[in-house]
């Protein structure tokens, strides 16, 4: 039967194009361009468009895995190198900067009027090339909390015309009936610890310009919008702003308003534009003002160089090496399996009706 069926079906398949043409003879009479158009049309309607039909053969799969491992392992290595290149000094000070007697009630201390000044000494263990970035790192601080991220007014930041668009900003929307600019929890909670750095007893300049995105300074924060009524409420959240400087120049605020995606995050404080040598000691005089104690958030001061790949983080390098390794292993395993137990492709004896003839399923 099969040969007979096959020939008839094959025949009808072949003749379909011919039949199509005979059905539309007028198209053939026209130019050959039209003819090819008709053929294309019929190929489309007959679902016979020229197509590539790749199948997963062992060769393809093994080479894919090999290629992936060949790409991934070097990438992993250079990622690790990039991460290793980064020199980073991290200093956690939230606990140490509270005088020992006050540590039983840190929140009371931070809310109190006692002097918050605190001195830290950092040692450079490896030469750091400029620019060296000064970050503050907060942990367990949910800048992505739903209540928090929504509490801002982007139109107000952009233009004085929209000063009154404060509906999203509750509970920091107005003070005494006048709108707060910039309103909302995010601006209200602006980080207000300050760092003064000196190296070997000479002041170390920290450049606080150019720490925010240029796009934000130019388009998102208006240069005619000045802070108003800011931090005038009953509860002060964080830093105050100089009402004479437009928002577009308030780079700390702009950086802060780019809310962090994750609960452990760094924000750029400034840049040191000189190299630091191995063995240098850096004295930091900081004002420990910011209250992270009520939710046991950590505060860290970070001095870090960067590589082309970013900061110090070995994860990506390890991930690349792992994936590359797995792919290499799979390539090897599949090669062995292929050599030990190959299957001839297109072997009809694997067809279900040939495996157990008559029995069916």
């Amino acid at each position: 039967m099969s040969s007979n069926m096959a020939s008839s079906s094959a025949g009808s398949g072949d003749s379909s194009a011919a039949r199509k043409n005979s059905k539309r003879p007028k198209c053939i009479d026209y130019s050959s361009a039209l003819l090819s158009l008709t053929l294309l049309d019929s190929k489309f309607t007959q679902q016979e468009l020229p197509a590539c039909k790749p199948i997963l053969t062992p060769g393809w799969v093994i080479s894919t895995f090999l290629i992936v491992s060949v790409i991934f392992i070097p990438l992993g290595v250079i990622s690790l190198f990039a991460s290793q290149d980064v020199v980073e000094i991290v200093d956690r000070y939230d606990n140490d900067c509270i005088p020992a007697p006050a540590r039983t009630n840190k929140v009371a201390f931070i809310q109190g009027a006692a002097p918050k000044s605190c001195n830290r000494t950092l040692t450079v263990t490896k030469r750091m090339k400029q620019p060296i970035y000064v970050y503050y790192q907060l942990e367990n601080f949910y800048q992505n909390h739903r209540r928090y991220v929504k509490s801002r007014s982007d139109s107000q930041l952009r233009s004085p015309k929209f000063e009154n668009q404060i509906s999203a900003c509750k509970p920091e929307d107005d003070a005494g009936g006048k709108p707060i600019v910039p309103c909302g929890l995010i601006a209200w909670s602006l980080f207000n610890d300050t760092y003064t750095l000196s190296r070997n007893n000479t002041p170390l300049a920290v450049n606080k310009k150019g720490i925010a995105w240029k796009s934000d300074k130019e388009h998102k924060f208006g240069n005619k919008v000045f802070p108003k009524n800011f931090q005038k409420g009953n509860l002060t959240g964080g830093a105050t702003l100089n009402p004479d400087i437009p928002l577009s120049e308030q780079e700390d605020l702009i950086v802060w308003m780019r809310t962090a995606a994750l609960p452990t995050f760094r924000k750029l404080y400034g840049k040191i534009e000189t190299d630091l040598e191995n063995g240098d000691t850096i004295q930091v005089t900081l004002q420990n003002n910011y209250n992270t104690y009520s939710f046991s958030g950590k505060k860290k001061l970070v001095l870090s160089t960067t590589s082309w790949l970013g900061g110090k983080n070995d994860f990506l390098g390890i991930a690349y090496l792992t994936v590359g390794g797995i792919c290499f292993f799979l390539a090897l395993a599949f090669t062995i399996m292929y050599l030990v137990k190959p299957r001839r492709l297109g072997d009809p004896s694997y067809l279900s009706w040939n495996r157990n003839p008559g029995g069916g399923r």
């Binding site: 099969s2 739903r146 939710f295 990506l316 797995i326 694997y350 399923r361």
Partner: protein, 1141 residues
């Protein structure tokens, strides 16, 4: 359709329903309980027609008095309104109808929830957009369709008709016609409403109508005006009477009413009414009184579409939808519970936590809770916010995608050249748009025989005259004009010679009688049409039975040309000589007698009775004493004929002497004017006269198998589809067709069940069951006849029959009544979850087509009723092979994959959102912008899945056709199952974790901001989800490339567009983040890591556990076609008979 031997529209007995009418009536009953046994059904129908119409069920129509008619009851006017909406009602009604769909209600509920201030997750615009978009598209589509309906309504309503008013016929627009008015219709005009005939141009009151618009049948039907109204109608002014008729209903073959004129009461039946939409033919004019108008006409009442069916896959899918709902609830519960825990542990600090700030001190100094309602409420709100955020876990867009995909698939099915019928110039039709994928899972095929397996172009093949077999042309000429029959028939030269021979041999006389009876004993209407040559006219024979047509054409070929038929006489051109015969009486065909007869007054003044009928009913009324040997010889011949698969009829005649005729005439008159039990009386009269017949001969008509039927049946059987053929033919004919169509093969053991009682039926079935149970190897064919089925159906024997039938390779049901067909389908459908398909072409297949999971109609000779009831319609039986094996296979595989993929792509996104919640203090912040969340399932990922769902093919059509076993994929439901669903879900969890956690760890403790990370997640998800699809695409043509890569590009463009809006928090984020190498390193790592397990496992499974499809793909790709033919072919030959499943 298997016609029981020819049936006839009666001239004199206007009452009884023809057998065809009865069948359709049963079909119309549809869902009602199916009765078995023709006798009982018949009598019930008769009793119905004689029943008095109760007053409360009746409507009264005063003839030619529309004012009085409409006084008490305000009947519907004749203006029709198929349009659903007006300008004002469009919005509310359309919305109301659209919200009948659960999917839209779900959308709406989510959108409404989102409007509550406490729950507002998305902005107004973003939350309403998807619903608004879908509603708008559907509304535009509906509005356009409705506009077209309005336009056609207007055209229809403004057509003109002649209405009798103020003593003359005036033109009036259709919409103003009222019930009770008298209307005149002229030839070739379309009828404006349903009317009872009062008079026609024909003195006997006959009118011919064509019902193409109504049921698609192109042959002419005869309708009659009552004799009593014929004369009265000449003077319409004084016409006084009323009609009491039943309430409007949709049965186009039924009508009962009484007419009262001048105190006389007349009964009206279906043959007295002509229906809206029909065309008047061959009649100069007709007068009728309007009984139903406008929307109450039978045509309009029948105007509803095919009943909608739901696909098996979609029903199956509901289970997984429920599972997904449970996931959704679990995710929301987790979010709510963890949020509650956090709130409890930090309850003392909430007022001052910088990122929470519960108190609003601006109101009063001690502060007031801002947007905080106690932690119980917070749990509640969090839960519902989670529902809003994770809403696409239930892939509502899937339903819309599925509809689009089905439309696309239907387009390609209708355009397929393999299913284009050149002879009728008709392409495949998809009438039901929601069961495409069911075509890939069929396990039982129920096929009608005549017209489905065969052409239903009856061809006269053999005659047996006086026991002598004649199995082997010239036009007549009158007045210089040559009359030619429209169809030529192959003639047997020796027989032709015999009829030509004017010698009065006994043989020649018999032959002449034979052909005279063929020409006379029927209800065929000859229609003479002109041709381009003025000297040649064509005679076209119109009738409802193709068998009769064939016989009349045969008679014409042998020189007995039927030229004219009126109710009183017929004119036959006998070898050039016009002869006029008076029709003294006609007993129409009925299924009890299984024969018809006509009494003719011949030109030589003798009166002759001609009878024609099925052999079983004819031999019992023959004069066996005188013609015993002829009967024996004929019987032998008949057996030979039916073994060749021919349809046979036996013709007998008798000369009536005067007393016999007088007696008959008296009783005939009495019976036909009887008011009660007319049909029964007429049948009795017929039975009395149809006795002691002389056998004239027997005819054999061939109903040719359609092209490609044997190959098609064999393919389907190899594909594991059980083919049941249901036919009205007798056993021998059925078996021989079975062999010629390769349904039966010589090495099958035949189990024949034809019993006449319940007990014997039970016995033989149980024997059969025992024999098939004991013997596994042998292939068995079950042949069962209609009488046995009467005992089997609706009985505990159904189970036994089902068991036997399951083990048989082929099942053949012969002598099956139309309503039994549905019973047989129901028998299988109720006992198995396998899919059933019924295919047929005639009105008698309608019930079966509607009963089966998939109904296929053949648009053939017998009108379009089967097509109207079907889900798919096509021109030829053999198209079933490409339909099922190719399109069914593709559609099933595409749809199965599409459902799984849609579950996956939505769940991946939801899980990414969910993982993030664990790092946002359990609040439902989304790093991904709300517009991206909305666009994700609408723009970013929807297009490729629709394109692939329409276009991808796992195998080429050649290999699917040459290896029908590949169809088993669908029958075994390999394309979609709960197991596959779970695999997909595990993969989903892995992929979402890879997409989420790689950037999370890579950016942990860095300066990354929410928008940038959100953009990375968005793009990573879109790339992974589209590459996942790309990995499973089998055929990469340019459309697939464009869809998949285009989607990724479109998503990137959308992300960029969203990020250039300065008032959104994420302004310029994508540009900032894409500048960094980290971004691209993360993206690469995500894509490879997410898809790695799937890729490896896919390969392992395909290589070491290859499915049939995979092997076939390898064959298709790696080997030349001819080689594979030989290779796979030899091995297939070993199993010529497919494995029993």
């Amino acid at each position: 359709m298997d016609k029981p031997p020819p049936h006839h529209e009666s001239i004199s007995s206007r009452w009884s329903f023809s057998s065809k009418d009865k069948e359709v009536t049963f079909a119309d009953l549809g869902s009602k309980r199916i009765r078995h046994g023709s006798a009982g059904a018949d009598s019930e129908m008769l009793s119905m027609s004689q029943k008095e119409i109760r007053d409360e069920d009746a409507r009264l129509i005063y003839i030619n008095d529309p004012d009085r008619t409409n006084e008490t009851f305000d009947f519907t006017g004749n203006s029709i309104k198929t349009a659903k909406y007006s300008v004002f009602t469009f919005l509310p009604r359309n919305l109301f109808e659209q919200f009948h769909r659960v999917a839209y209600v779900y959308f709406l509920v989510i959108a409404v929830l989102n409007q509550l201030p406490q729950l507002a997750v998305f902005g107004r615009g973003a939350s309403i957009m998807p619903l608004a978009f879908v509603l708008l598209v559907s509304a535009i589509k509906d509005a356009y369709e409705d506009f077209r309906r309005h336009r056609s309504d207007r055209v229809e309503n403004n057509r003109l008709a002649l209405v009798f008013e103020d003593n003359e016929f005036k033109e009036k627009q259709w919409k103003y016609i009222r019930v009770g008015e008298v209307i005149k219709v002229v030839s070739n005009q379309t009828l404006p409403c349903d009317m009872v005939l009062l008079a026609t141009s024909d003195p006997t009151g006959v009118v011919y109508v064509q019902t193409t618009n109504l049921d698609g049948e192109s042959n002419l039907k005869t309708r009659y005006a009552k004799q009593e109204t014929l004369q009265k109608a000449t003077d319409l002014e004084t016409f006084d009477g009323f009609i009491k008729c039943e309430k409007p209903n949709r049965n186009i073959y039924g009508f009962q009413a009484n007419m009262e004129i001048d105190g006389r009461r007349l009964s009206l039946g279906p043959s007295n009414i002509i229906l809206r939409g029909c065309e008047l033919k061959n009649t100069e004019w007709a007068l009728g009184v309007v009984v139903y108008a406008g929307s109450e006409t039978k045509a309009m009442l029948n105007n509803s579409g095919a009943p909608s069916k739901r696909s098996r896959l979609e029903t199956r899918m509901n289970l997984e939808i429920i599972l997904l709902s449970l996931f959704l609830i679990a995710l929301c519960t987790t979010a709510a519970a963890t949020a509650a825990v956090w709130l409890r542990t930090h309850r003392d600090d909430l007022d001052t936590i910088l990122f929470y700030r519960r108190k609003d001190y601006s109101v009063r100094p001690e502060g007031k809770n801002h947007n905080y309602y106690g932690w119980g409420w917070e749990i509640f709100f969090t839960f519902f916010m989670a529902v809003i955020v994770y809403q696409i876990m239930i892939p509502i867009s899937l339903y819309i995608s599925m509809e689009l995909v089905r439309i696309g698939q239907a387009y390609f099915m209708t355009r397929d050249d393999l299913m284009y019928d050149e002879s009728s110039n008709s392409s495949f039709q998809c009438r039901a748009l929601n069961i495409n994928e069911d075509l890939g899972q069929i396990k039982y095929l129920f096929s009608d025989k005549t017209g489905t397996l065969t052409d239903n172009k009856m061809e006269f093949q053999c005659a047996c005259i006086g026991g002598v077999d004649y199995s082997g042309r010239e036009p007549a000429e009158i007045d210089g004009v040559t009359l030619k029959p429209k169809m030529r028939v192959r003639v047997d030269p020796s027989l032709l010679q015999l009829t030509r021979n004017n010698k009065a041999t006994e043989e020649a006389k018999r032959a002449n009688e034979f052909f005279l009876s063929l020409a006379a004993c029927n209800t065929i209407v000859p229609i003479v049409t002109n041709t381009s040559d003025p000297n040649v006219k064509l005679v076209d024979y119109q009738g409802e039975s193709p068998d009769e047509q064939a016989l009349v054409y045969a008679a014409a070929a042998y020189g007995f040309l039927l030229i004219e038929r009126t109710s009183g006489h017929i004119v036959i051109n006998v070898r050039g000589e016009m002869q006029r015969f008076n029709v003294l009486g006609l007993h129409e065909f009925d299924s009890d007698r299984k024969r018809m007869s006509v009494i003719l007054g011949c030109p030589d003044t003798s009166v002759k009775l001609f009878v024609k009928g099925a052999d079983s009913s004819m031999f019992s009324v023959m004069d066996e004493e005188s013609y015993g040997d002829v009967i024996e010889a004929t019987k032998k011949q008949l057996h030979a004929y039916s073994s060749d698969g021919l349809r046979t009829l036996v013709v007998g005649m008798r000369k009536l002497n005067d007393t016999e005729f007088e007696q008959w005439h008296a009783s005939f008159e009495a019976a036909s004017t009887a008011l009660i039990g007319r049909a029964g009386l007429l049948r009795k009269v017929a039975g009395n006269i149809e006795t002691k017949l002389r056998i004239v001969g027997a005819t054999a008509i061939e109903d040719k198998l359609q092209r490609g039927v044997p190959e098609a049946i064999e393919s389907l059987r190899i594909a594991g589809i059980k083919v049941w053929v249901l036919t009205g033919d007798k056993q021998e004919t059925a078996i021989s067709i079975g062999f010629s169509s390769r349904l039966l093969t010589r090495n099958m053991r035949q189990i024949v069940i034809n019993s006449n009682s319940l007990d014997s039926c039970r016995r033989s079935l149980e024997e059969a069951n025992a024999s098939v149970a004991s013997d596994d190897e042998e292939s068995v064919a079950l042949i069962i006849d209609g009488t046995s089925l009467i005992y089997v159906l609706d009985n505990d024997l159904e189970d036994v029959l089902f068991q036997v039938a399951c083990k048989s390779s082929a099942v053949l049901c012969c002598r099956v009544a139309p309503f039994q067909k549905a019973g047989i389908v129901a028998l299988v459908k109720n006992r198995t979850s396998d899919m059933t398909l019924a295919i047929g072409d005639g009105a008698n297949d309608v019930s079966m087509i509607q009963m089966a999971d998939v109904g296929v109609g053949i648009s053939g000779q017998e009108g379009r009723q089967a097509v109207m009831a079907s889900d798919f319609a096509m021109g030829q039986f053999r198209f079933l092979v490409p339909l099922l094996l190719v399109h069914g296979h593709w559609n099933y595989q595409r749809m199965g994959y599409m459902i799984l993929y849609n579950f996956y792509r939505n769940a991946v996104f939801v899980l990414i959102l969910f993982w993030y919640v664990l790092f946002t203090c359990y609040t439902l912040t989304t790093a991904i912008t709300e517009w991206s969340s909305v666009l994700y399932s609408v723009v970013y990922t929807s297009f490729p899945t629709i394109v692939i769902g329409i276009l991808d093919k796992n195998l080429g059509r050649r290999i699917l056709l040459s290896h029908p076993q590949l169809y088993g994929v669908g029958q075994r439901a390999e394309g979609y199952s709960t197991t596959l669903f779970w695999y997909t879900m595990f993969d989903t969890v892995w992929q979402s974790a890879a997409i989420f956690f790689i950037p999370l760890f890579a950016y942990w403790g860095s300066t990354i901001d929410t928008s940038s990370l959100g953009d990375l997640w968005t793009i990573a998800a879109v790339v992974v989800v589209n590459l996942h699809l790309a990995m499973d695409v089998i055929r990469w043509n340019w459309i697939a490339h464009a869809a998949i890569w285009g989607s990724i590009v479109a998503a990137c463009i959308c992300v960029v567009v969203i990020d250039v809006i300065p008032t959104l928090p994420g302004y310029w984020a994508i540009f900032q983040v894409a500048k960094t190498w980290m971004f691209w390193f993360c993206l690469l790592a995500i894509v490879v890591t997410a898809l790695l397990p799937r890729f490896a496992i896919k390969f392992l499974v395909e290589y070491y556990r290859p499915s049939d499809v995979r092997i076939a793909r390898e064959v298709e790709k790696l080997r030349s076609f001819s080689e594979s033919q030989q290779n796979m072919g030899t091995e297939m030959n070993q199993i010529r008979d497919p494995p029993r499943r």
